[in-house]
Amino acid sequence: MLGYAMKRLLQSLFTLLIVITIVFLLMRMMPEEGYFGDGYEKLDEEQREAILTSMGLRDPLHKQLLNFYKQILRGDLGKSIIYRPKVSIGEILKTKIPYSLKFGLAAMAVSIVVGIPLGIGMSLSKDSVLDKLGTIYIVLINAVPAAVYYLFLQIYITGRFNLPILYSEHRPLSWVLPTISMSLGGIASYAMWMRRYMIDEINKDYVKLARAKGMRNRNIMMSHVLRNAFVPMAQYLPSAILFTIAGSIYVESLYSIPGMGGLLVDAIQRQDNTLVQALVLIYSSIGILGLFLGDIFMAILDPRIKLSKKEGAR
């Protein structure tokens, strides 16, 4: 187990190194305007060169790369250039992440608490009314563009129940709809996958044997099926939790929540090179970390994993 974790950790670190390098190289291919901010038009060629040199962007590439690694190791993400000029990116994120995290985690909690029991219920009463209603819900949520039901909720439900239309930090009632909006999709996907994995497990031979040895159906579900059905779900849980910090573009802009949602799009549109670079780095590191934690989580739950990985041809 420990060996597997170490191996997986080294793999992740290596992937991260590659990602950092690629991000660096890509950013160096971006138009250089992105380093100047609003005053770009007024500067002449010489001034521009001077600024770029002072930022270290005229050093040889390998030296720039080395400096970039060092900077990252210090945890320094650089300063924003256009979005909020001269403010360190860490500072910008510090004000925004809590909002996204708060709503993301709340929505995720709702999704899990509602979605997983729904999926279990659907699988246990296959083809019943519950199963059919659940399936209709899942299909609707997946087929209808999210913007449609987000807008519907905002316009119709706020009017009907007299809820505030926009987010405000001091009115907890205004937190309700964004959370619900964000969890609708989560509920659908947790229910769908849970149902699917449960049905997969219920039809396996070991359930037949458990029944033949005289176990109660309820106990078979609790001690055999449920746990086994959880394993494939567990893999994606860490990523899902981590990515809540990225926020939801739609919901945050609909309710004007000052979260992370639109930040990346904004930064790209306004050519804030350092901010884009930092965000891309953060999101891809989260991806790598999420997969790593997911794999470790799986290995704890599924004893087969250590062996099959070790025997693999890698």
Binding site: Y206, L209, K213, D302
Partner: protein, 350 residues
């Protein structure tokens, strides 16, 4: 065979399934008396209903299947009338246990095999905690698993197919059942392991005084383990008798055909015998003898009227009009005479 107690008595059982909007009759009035302590083999080709027949003794029919009529008497109760899980929990494992043909998938991959064996002991033997664990280790040793203390904590993927089947057997035997149903216990295993598993089952049968039912289409297995053989075709038992009677004096044309297709009877360089045609369509009513359409020597009456049981000896009965005094004398295929030499050893060994 000396007169023994009947432990399970099935009478005129009819089992139906709802399939794609149509009703399929899988078992058509089968009757069977199972004697305490005996070893019965049920043979027949795929789709003859042998699995469904025995699953109905434990209430393990698939959800779309049901017992339409007939009775299954065990311990003074009619199991055919059971329809609540609570009723079946008193039978499953405790009275009748079953092992399946898929040792590779019959165990939960995420639970240590010890826990899985312990589960069945806790359910049926009133043991808890350490005592249950000790009993589990003892049973694992009984089924021939070396170093059971260490193996107890291992997971199914650390076991070979044969070893997994031993664990499955341990789970079944751990319930301390009276009847053990083995549904093709060796089909998925290679030949040397097959022999070991059959030996193990024979040993356990003695040690735990089990009554065993083997479901198989491997007649070699039958000769090796069975006291009596029941031949199923089209959802009914068309011939039943002691192993010697079925192998040396078969009476039903289907039994002839089945025995003729034993590879042991094949001649080098010649194609093996195979039964022409396909088993009857279970969605339809079967008129007369179900095997008649595939039987080149079928009599007219075979297509019209279902034959009753004719007794060949007190232990041997056959559903075939050939046994009627008015029927023409039809001789079994000559090649069957060779059976005595080919598998006689297996039969005599018992």
């Amino acid at each position: 065979m000396t007169k023994r107690n009947i432990i399970l008595s099935v009478d005129n059982l009819v089992i139906k399934f709802q399939l794609r909007g149509k009703v399929l009759t899988a078992i058509r009035g089968a009757s069977l008396d199972l004697y305490e302590g005996e070893s019965l083999a049920i043979v027949g080709e795929s789709g003859s209903g042998k699995s469904v027949f025995t699953k109905s003794f434990m209430g393990l029919l698939d959800k779309n299947g049901w017992i339409d009529s007939g009775s299954i008497i065990y311990g003074g109760n009619d199991l055919a009338k059971y329809n609540r899980e609570r009723d079946w929990l008193n039978i499953r494992g405790k009275e009748i246990a079953m092992i399946f043909q898929e040792p590779m998938t019959s165990l939960n991959p995420l639970k240590s095999i010890g826990k899985q064996v312990k589960e069945s002991i806790q359910l049926h033997q009133n043991l808890k905690g350490k005592a249950a664990k000790e009993e589990a280790i003892k049973i694992l040793r009984d089924v021939g698993i070396d170093n059971p203390e260490k193996r107890y904590n291992q997971y199914p993927h650390e076991f070979s197919g044969g070893m997994r089947q031993r664990v499955v057997i341990a789970i079944a035997v751990g319930c301390k059942p009276n009847i053990l149903i083995c549904d093709e216990p060796t089909t998925a295993l290679d030949v040397t392991i097959q022999a070991q598993i059959l030996d193990l089952l024979k040993t356990l049968k003695k040690k735990y005084s089990l009554t065993t039912i083997y479901i198989t289409h491997d007649l070699g297995v039958v000769a090796n383990v069975a006291d009596r053989v029941a031949v199923m075709y089209g959802g009914d038992i068309i011939e039943i008798g002691k192993s010697e009677e079925i192998f040396y004096n078969p009476k039903h044309p289907y039994t002839w055909a089945l025995l003729s297709s034993l590879p042991q009877l094949g001649k080098k360089g010649e194609a093996l015998y195979s039964i022409k045609g396909t088993p009857p369509n279970l969605f339809h009513d079967i008129k007369g003898d179900p095997f008649a359409p595939r039987n080149p020597k079928a009599l007219k009456i075979d297509f019209i009227k279902k034959p009753p049981y004719f007794h060949v000896s007190p232990t041997h009965k056959v559903k075939s009009w050939l046994l009627d005094p008015r029927a023409p004398k039809v001789k079994p295929p000559k090649s069957l005479k060779l059976l005595r030499y080919k598998i006689g050893d297996d039969l005599d060994e018992k």
